[in-house]
């Protein structure tokens, strides 16, 4: 047995022993009810944000400004990655074959299923668990299946390039910023929800701006991660004798 595994097992048993003795000596009181802040959120989410889902209400209403800046961090990380990875798409066009017909057909069905579930997650985010981030990540999973099966070159030939994807992402983020900024026109605070946006349109509950945010955020996350996956799928042979060094 190597020394590393022995040390790990010793650490684990020490953790167990320490926690047992700490329980016997201290016998701490465990929390048995919600914290006051969480109680406030759970009680007031329907009245104040028109959303029955407390998590989405916190993400896009109570702490909406936080989330918008986090979206900006996400955007900068992806743009930074693509900038490091500066790469002509001619290298990608060399990979055009993909996997067999059987795999391609089954992937089409599976990707359709994943995308429809992702749409349900994203568009019902203000009514049931889910929202823009998980929905967009699920779409990104579908594209991560599609890229190796159909080969990145084929997708670029069909007109899906990472430049276009980043452009979609930028447009979605701009729209998101506009949704956040619009209440300022009427002298309200930035990221205002219920005082400016209606709770429902034609009997459809949209929870004010929450469903708009979810829609745009899912679009932004999906296109951003698809662009990243497209760049990461470049095979190593494409660089041999390339312009890297």
């Amino acid at each position: 047995m190597s020394r590393r595994i022995l040390v790990l097992m010793l650490l684990f048993s020490a953790t167990l022993i320490v926690s047992f003795t700490a329980t016997i000596i201290l016998n701490p009181a465990t929390p048995s009810e919600l914290k006051e802040l969480a109680k406030y959120y759970v009680l007031n989410t329907i009245n104040e944000t028109a959303s029955p889902e407390a998590v989405t209400a916190i993400v896009w209403d109570y702490r909406g400004l936080d989330t918008i800046y986090e979206t900006l961090v996400l955007y900068l990380a992806i743009v930074g990655g693509l900038a490091i990875f500066k790469m002509s798409e001619e290298a990608l066009l060399k990979t055009r074959i993909g996997l067999t017909l059987l795999t391609k057909t089954s992937t089409k069905i599976i990707a359709l299923l994943i995308t429809s579930i992702a749409a349900a997650i994203a568009f019902h985010g203000h009514l049931s668990p889910g929202g823009g981030f998980p929905g967009g990540s699920a779409v990104a999973v579908a594209s991560m299946i599609i890229i190796p099966v159909f080969a990145a070159g084929t997708l670029i030939e069909k007109g899906i390039s990472s430049t276009k994807l980043v452009a979609i992402r930028g447009a979605a983020l701009t729209a998101l910023g506009l949704v956040a900024l619009l209440p300022v026109v009427r002298g309200l605070e930035i990221v205002t929800n219920q005082k400016f946006y209606p709770a429902s349109i034609l009997g459809l509950p949209i929870s004010g701006s929450l469903s708009l945010y979810n829609l745009l955020e899912s679009l932004a996350v999906a296109s951003g991660f698809t662009a990243v996956a497209l760049y990461l799928s470049i095979p190593e042979e494409a660089y041999k004798g390339g312009s890297s060094a």
Binding site: T15, T23, P52, I58, F85, L232
Partner: protein, 133 residues
């Protein structure tokens, strides 16, 4: 007694997890292994944030109302899971994913320039300075 034991045990195992992943970040040779340790550390922190909203109740339900009229308010306050850590973790996961992708881009670039992911050899190749143990 059993409740207190599980409570302390979860805290201790999270601490151990953080310790091992920090060890991996510092002593791992390969940059890829360092990245894997970093993701384990960030996941440990996220579990700790979720654990901050933990309390004993049965049954536990999601903090979601069944209708728009807001029925079952009293039940939800006694049985809903804490929504605030969930909201923080929801965004934290996506930000972590983007930052990890950025680091992965950097590692691939370093691999292309130095033809290795060993952290010391990457430094030696790129800067020309000898790295001593």
């Amino acid at each position: 007694m059993l409740e207190a034991l599980t409570y302390i045990l979860i805290i201790a195992i999270l601490g151990l997890n953080a310790l091992v992943s920090i060890y991996g970040i510092i002593y791992g040779r390969s940059l890829v292994k360092k990245l894997i340790s970093l993701t384990i550390l960030s996941d440990t922190v996220l579990v700790a944030v979720i654990f901050a909203g933990f309390y004993y109740a049965y049954p536990i339900v999601p903090p979601v109302y069944q209708d728009l009229a807001g029925t079952g308010r009293e039940f939800l306050v006694k049985h809903a899971s804490d929504p605030l850590p969930q909201a923080l973790v929801l965004t934290g996961i996506v930000i972590g994913l983007a930052v990890n992708a950025l680091i992965a881009f950097g590692i691939i670039q370093a691999y292309r320039l130095a033809k290795t992911t060993d952290a010391r050899k990457v430094v030696e190749t790129l800067s020309g300075v000898e790295v001593t143990e």
